[in-house]
Point group: C2
Chain length 204, copies 2
Amino acid sequence: MPSPRPRTRIQQRNSETILAAALDIFSQQGFRGATLDQIADLAGLSKPNLLYYFPSKEAIHTALLTDLLDVWLQPLRDLDPAGDPLAEILTYVRRKLDMSRDMPRESRLFANEVLQGAPRIEATMTGDLAALVEEKAGVIHAWVTAGHIAPVHPKHLIFSIWALTQHYADFDVQVRAVLGPQEPDPYPDAAQHLETMFIKMLKV
Amino acid sequence: MPSPRPRTRIQQRNSETILAAALDIFSQQGFRGATLDQIADLAGLSKPNLLYYFPSKEAIHTALLTDLLDVWLQPLRDLDPAGDPLAEILTYVRRKLDMSRDMPRESRLFANEVLQGAPRIEATMTGDLAALVEEKAGVIHAWVTAGHIAPVHPKHLIFSIWALTQHYADFDVQVRAVLGPQEPDPYPDAAQHLETMFIKMLKV
DNA sequence: TAGCGTTATGACCAGACGGTAAAATTCTTA
DNA sequence: TAAGAATTTTACCGTCTGGTCATAACGCTA
């Protein structure tokens, strides 16, 4: 569920400012690495003032994660059982890659959390997430059975899509270090590469 | 370069114990999330005793990372330009996946570091790592040009291998949450999935 | 513009943390 | 086995950090 809506204009504005700053800091430093002072500084507020809007550091982090999970899984929810199988999967890949490009901080926030054992979203992982994947894996399995795409392990296909697309956000510094400064934007090549890859993998 | 060799038996044993404990803690909590007390407890030493063997928390972390990088890149170094192209790449994938299975803590240690901007291994990233990938990308490019494997962007192929294999270590809790308790070992299916995937991708 | 609820600030606290100093203990070897 | 080196422990320090509290400033509306 998304964070409760603030009631006044000032609350609205400051809550957003805080969450934006917190996303910056948490995604770069992890939960324990981030400090309230850093977040407050970046938000242009004093620490006590920040704690006027959120009861604790934990609460800010939780608010970010809960808001994020909704957005994060939307592309998978949108996978349409009635659509063209290959096109549906390619669209999913494309949208996930676009999210890595446009929301790298969100990707890293999520990665940080999962890396450290997902202590704060364990329930969602084994609940909503597992159920959603179960459902969509069923869709993919049906496509395979019907001969619309090549045989593939549905859940591992989904893992592959997550891994390949999120890698460009989570390991951004490594990607850029390897490509060198003359290749400032990895994404066009990545998109091309992934599209080719999944077509070869899934075409019957 | 690897950590300097300890001189006495006790130093040997305790250094190893400390590094083993530190790997556990750092890989699970990140650098700032880990505390010397945690590491000392797990190693069965007092904190000052621990600091008798390593001058600082930073030094322990650096020792781990430097030792690791050597091991981590070995499979890529072993990619043989004279070998059979498809077999070479499949072996590389296989070895990286085995490393995720057998050294998940090392994978997460590395992931934590890169996620947070790789502040402590920036030099290696843009130096040795970039050079190694440049060299091996050349090998792959030559294989493509010679028509031994299907056309592919060499560096993004390498990224794909990293992403797909390390995902199983770094996002382990998510993988297990999605697969559910009746599927306790993801690796056999993952190995099968990845092999099929890369064969389809690379076969001419 | 007075009054009241909302928002912001400064001073502060308790605990955690990385690290140090020096004394005490254990180990090695001459 | 005694001396000296290596190892371990006890007590401690300064700083950082999440969070509190009382007070002050602000801003809306009657």
